[in-house]
Every structure is written in structure tokens, then in C-alpha cells.
Assembly symmetry: C2
């Protein structure tokens, strides 16, 4: 693809993303996309031979990238508690702003949650996200701020569920209370003097 | 309503629940419901004058009750760490068994996530669920097992997000790893010697 072609393709994706955020994935037509991006239908089919479905999949990949990009510059360098707190604030702000509209969720639902393409996309996003959080936990362990006895990958998985669960409630209620309670409680417990935590205590009989 | 009428209404709701679990809410027709429950269309309209939509709403309320009922006998008496562990095991087992099919989620999606009826239902379920978990946290605080400095309602909200987030991932991936990591980590940190936790540490500068 020429640089000009790549730019046109990207313009179509970004324009479609705006349309989907405004009116939903089901209601967005290729005519809307043409009007918004000043392209013709034949151009759209040139870049997305599969039509609307292929286009929506590309938009979903773009939205998945944005989920992570919107957490920067903190997500990729969670090397101090200050960075973690800034990350928490960014996440809460992002989802508060999106409110009851989750662009990626809308697209995944439209494409079919159980289709291989949608599942691959979600799986990759989770993996990348978890990898970044895991790197942050490992960095804090190296710095002596988080107990080395905690499994960094499981802690990363746990933090992702805090975000996902908080967002799930926000999508129903429109309120960010649960998301904030989840992130604040998780971080507060993680910051508690690590060597004093009885990690794995849930296995012991009481 | 006569006891016999109430029983017929309940039979229609339960039969519809089975249909929805098998084929989804959108694909379930009133004819399917008649066949499954040995009732006539006029009986269905007698109990649900609003037709399919009213019936699906009643099924959603029934599924919401089941979400909580399936967590018993532990949810309503979380007065020991053993009860909490048993509750955790029940929750994981329930959602593992349901797999990528969340009956309540399917119904809420079909009814329209943003409709007042669906939102009221979700709101009530969250409130009741959180109330039960809060009572459990309070009981453990009274027993000296959880620090009294922790806000029981926020801890309850946090535990709900752990379940919701874990289930959200399970619905995408079909795997319960995140749900288990979320519940295990939350309970392990909650069980850590409470007086040694630096609660609210995330507010301090480092």
C-alpha cells in the first residue's frame, strides 16, 4: 500500500469510529462513512473488500489500540506508586467520559461476541493489557514495593478484572463508583506493607 | 391470582428461561414457549398482556433472583473465612458451568440495556448483592477478622467488580482464570492481618 493509500484507509477507519461512537455500529451505513470521510463506496470496497463487516473489524482493532493508548503515558511505565495512581485516575476519567457507551463493546456485540475474529481481538487486547500491568507489578517487586511472593501475572489479571467489572457496572448504571472502589481498594491493599501480608492465607484453615 | 394461576405463570417463566438458555432470547418465540410449557397463546397473553417483551422481563427478574439464590447458602451468612471460601467456590462453579452463556446478560441485551426496566432490574440486583456482601464484611469486622477501618460498602462493591470483571472475561474467552485470580487475590489480601494493612496508603505521597 502506498503512504497515500494507507492514509486514506486510516481516514476511513477513524471516520467510521466517530460514526459508530455517535450512532452505534448497527445503525452506521457505508453511506454515512462516505459522507463523513469524503470517500466513495468504491474506495471503501477497495480497502475493505468484505464491506461493512471487514470495516467494522478494522475499527474494532483501532478501538482496541485506543483502549491501551488512552492509558499512556502511565500504563507502559508503572514504576512508582505515583505512576499507578496517575494510571488509576486516567482509567476512571476515560470511562467516565465514555459513560454508558463503550465503543469496543458495541463493535464486538455487532460483529458477534462469539465469532473467531471478535474473540481473537479481545484475547489479544487482554494479553497486551495484562502484559503491561504485569511489567509494572514486576518493576514494583524489583523496587521492593510489592511482595515478591505475589504472582505478578495473577495480580495483573486481577487488576484487569477490577477495571472490567467496574466498567460493566458503569455501563449499566452510568456511575463510576464501582470502578473507583475497585481500583482504589485494589491499589490500597497492594500498597499495604508487602512483607506483612499473609499471602496465600486463604489456603489455611481457620 | 389463584394459587393455580400463580403456578401456571411460574411454569411459563421457568419454561421460557430454559428456552432462552438453549437458543437465546431473540430466537425464542411464543410458539416455543407454548410447546415447552404446554400452554396456549391465550394463556400466555392472559398472564403477560404485553406479550414477549413482558414475558422476557419477568424471566429476567427470575434470572436475577437465581444469580443470588445460586450463591446460597453461603452468600447470606458470610460469617467465617470458610464461608467466604465456599462462596468463592460456588461462584466460580456457577459461571464455569454457564460458560460463555450468561442468561441474564442475554435478556438484558435483548430488552435493551438502556431501557428503564432493564436498568431498574440491574440496579436492584446490584443493590441486593452488595447488601449481602456488605453484611458479610461487617460480620467479619465484628469478629475482628477484617479491619474496622475498611469501608464495608466499598469492599462489597469491590468484590462485586471482581466477579463481574471475571465473568466479563469468561464470556469472551470461555476460561475462568481471571475470575479465579480476581476472587482469590481479593480474598487473600482481605485476609491479610488487618491491623497491619496500611489502609488509605494510596493517598500518601511516596
Amino acid at each position: 500500500m502506498t503512504p497515500k493509500g494507507a492514509a486514506t484507509r486510516q481516514r476511513i477507519i477513524e471516520g467510521t469510529s466517530v460514526e459508530v461512537r455517535e450512532r452505534g455500529a448497527a445503525a452506521t451505513t457505508l453511506d454515512d462513512v462516505c459522507a463523513r470521510t469524503s470517500t466513495s463506496k468504491s474506495q471503501i470496497f477497495h480497502y475493505f473488500p468484505g464491506g461493512k463487516e471487514e470495516l467494522l473489524l478494522a475499527v474494532a482493532a483501532y478501538e482496541a489500540d485506543r483502549v491501551l493508548a488512552d492509558q499512556e503515558p502511565y500504563l507502559s511505565s508503572l514504576t512508582s506508586w505515583e505512576a499507578w495512581q496517575n494510571w488509576r485516575d486516567l482509567v476512571v476519567r476515560r470511562y467516565r467520559k465514555l459513560g454508558v457507551h463503550c465503543p469496543l463493546g458495541v463493535l464486538i456485540t455487532e460483529l458477534g461476541r462469539k465469532t473467531p475474529a471478535a474473540q481473537a481481538l479481545t484475547g489479544q487486547l487482554l494479553e497486551r493489557w495484562q502484559g503491561q500491568l504485569r511489567a509494572g507489578v514486576t518493576a514494583m517487586q524489583t523496587a521492593g514495593q510489592i511482595s515478591p511472593s505475589l504472582d505478578a501475572d495473577r495480580i495483573a489479571a486481577w487488576l484487569i478484572t477490577a477495571v472490567q467489572g467496574g466498567v460493566a457496572v458503569l455501563l449499566s448504571t452510568g456511575k463510576s463508583d464501582h470502578l473507583e472502589a475497585a481500583l482504589d481498594t485494589s491499589l490500597a491493599l497492594l500498597r499495604a506493607k508487602p512483607e506483612l501480608l499473609h499471602v496465600g492465607a486463604s489456603q489455611d484453615p481457620t
